[in-house]
């Protein structure tokens, strides 16, 4: 099963026009383990990024962690507001990579060999009104599709997304990108983004009668399991807590040294770069 990691630097440069791009040490380590673990059990994984993202990884010297680096994402994000739609790069990447394809977030690790036979996401999410507001919130976006959509379907967490079918993939990506390109700039950095990426997926599947499977049950995410890691909000925790961060990094170093000795050099490379 082919997979992609996606990293668009456009949101960073939208915030820091003349900034120097870099990824956090915790993100780098997790991405490395995510890629190597995928290759070990499930197949090839490419890093789909833009030119600046590719340059960063290449200069860092860890590009062979992935099977290949594809700098195919346009740096202007096709006129999509990169601050509101900070994950638009994922949709742009999906559009251009043929199905079947698994999109794995760089902070998500699949520890097992997967055998998937249909549209699959990490898990569902509850319809928290603060995060997933009703249709009226998006009233400036005129769309018969949205008017007719089922607003009761539960959104999908797309930290992992397996799209086996090109027809459905193009429909979903089209609807999501259309939403991003027609939504007014309103300074909302959450609801619009998660709507376009996560709720739209569920609505599209519902409209086209495509069943959605999940890797995890949403109400049991924090119950013990040994199959999936998702850093998610822990990234912020680690920013706030140096000890937590240091312990996490040690765990990552240990995991790479033990399971991926051929990539042992990555540890020194990342540590030197992040000093």
């Amino acid at each position: 099963m082919n997979a992609i990691h996606v990293n668009s630097t456009t949101p960073f440069f939208a915030k820091h026009k003349d900034g120097v791009y870099s990824m956090e040490q915790t993100e780098l380590y997790c991405a490395v383990i995510s890629a190597l673990q995928w290759r070990k059990n499930n197949g090839n994984i490419s890093l789909v990024t833009d030119r600046r993202g590719a340059d960063y990884i290449e200069k860092l010297g860890i590009s062979d962690v992935w099977n290949d680096i594809l700098p195919t994402i346009s740096e202007n994000s096709e006129e999509i507001n990169p601050l509101m739609f900070w994950a638009a790069g994922k949709l742009l990447a999906l559009r251009d990579i043929p199905a079947p394809i698994a999109l794995v977030d760089m902070d998500f690790i699949v520890w097992d060999k997967l055998s998937l036979d249909g549209l699959t996401v990490a898990h569902r999410e509850d319809l928290m009104p603060d995060v997933y507001p009703p249709r009226e919130y998006f009233s400036a976006v005129k769309s018969p599709f949205l008017d007719a959509a089922d607003w009761t379907v539960l959104p999908c967490n797309t930290a992992f997304l397996y799209l086996p079918d090109e027809d459905f993939k193009q429909f979903y990506v089209g609807q999501a990108l259309r939403f991003m390109k027609t939504a007014p700039d309103c300074g909302d950095f959450l609801c619009h983004m998660v709507f376009a990426e996560q709720r739209m997926l569920a609505m599209c599947a519902e409209r086209l009668n495509v069943p959605i499977k999940t890797l995890l049950e949403k109400d049991r995410l924090f119950v013990a399991q040994d199959s999936y890691t998702h850093l998610w909000g822990a990234k912020q925790q680690m920013r706030d807590n140096e000890k937590l961060r240091a312990d996490f990094l040690d765990s990552c170093r240990g995991r790479i040294a033990q399971d991926f000795p051929d990539f042992g050099y990555v540890v020194a490379t990342i540590d030197n770069a992040c000093q």
Binding site: I109, S139, Q236, S251
Partner: protein
Amino acid sequence: MKYCLWLFGKKVYTLDDVMNSFDTDSLSAYLLGGSLGRWLRSIGENIIADKTDKIDLGGKLDSQLKICFGIERPQEEKSDILADNAAYINGAGYPVPSFATEYHPFGNDEHENAAEGAANSASAANAIGRAGSFVNSLSSFYGSFSGLIGSFAKRNGSFSGALGSYALGGSYASLLAGSAYGIFGSYRFGSALSGRFSSDNVTSLGGFVIAPNGAVLTEKEYEKTMINLSSCPLNSRGYGIHIINAKDSKKSDK
């Protein structure tokens, strides 16, 4: 890359299919998503694809799509027809044919556009206003969420310190793991809970859940807390992070 379009909820493979179920809404999505031209070329309709590539994405997509697919005439052609028609009428003194009224009201279109623009602006302004209120309610949600955890902390008595909105997971994990600001609070969380269902860290006994530190929660309290914690997508700490630790994990190769 081969794919079909979904128009009016049905798969469409050919240009004839498109013309027979001309779904401008879905076609607009494919167009803005950047995959309409690619599809048209994949079925050999390069001329139409070239036309759709030139569509003004900031303009009215419905009518532009109809023009590209030959369903509607472009404005210049309409003007020509009107001019010819006018000349014909002036010359021969015939009454205006009915189709002229159908083609003429471009002015009306402009009015419609202007009205629509105003409506859009109003909607956008409303949306911005609402966004503000959502932010407010978001803040209050997190406030109440912190309150929930806070009440657990008080009951347990082993917790101290402020709860940042992103610190919830670690804090609650610490509560279960038995250290006020436990190292790796969230990472132990998975393993601490594992006993609840399968292993030996947390014990389920007679309707109570006993954490490793001896804290006792009723199963109801426990389940309720788990559901609350897991249903907040922003505040959720990660999960399965303990697996990375090669020493502790069952996933360890050696």
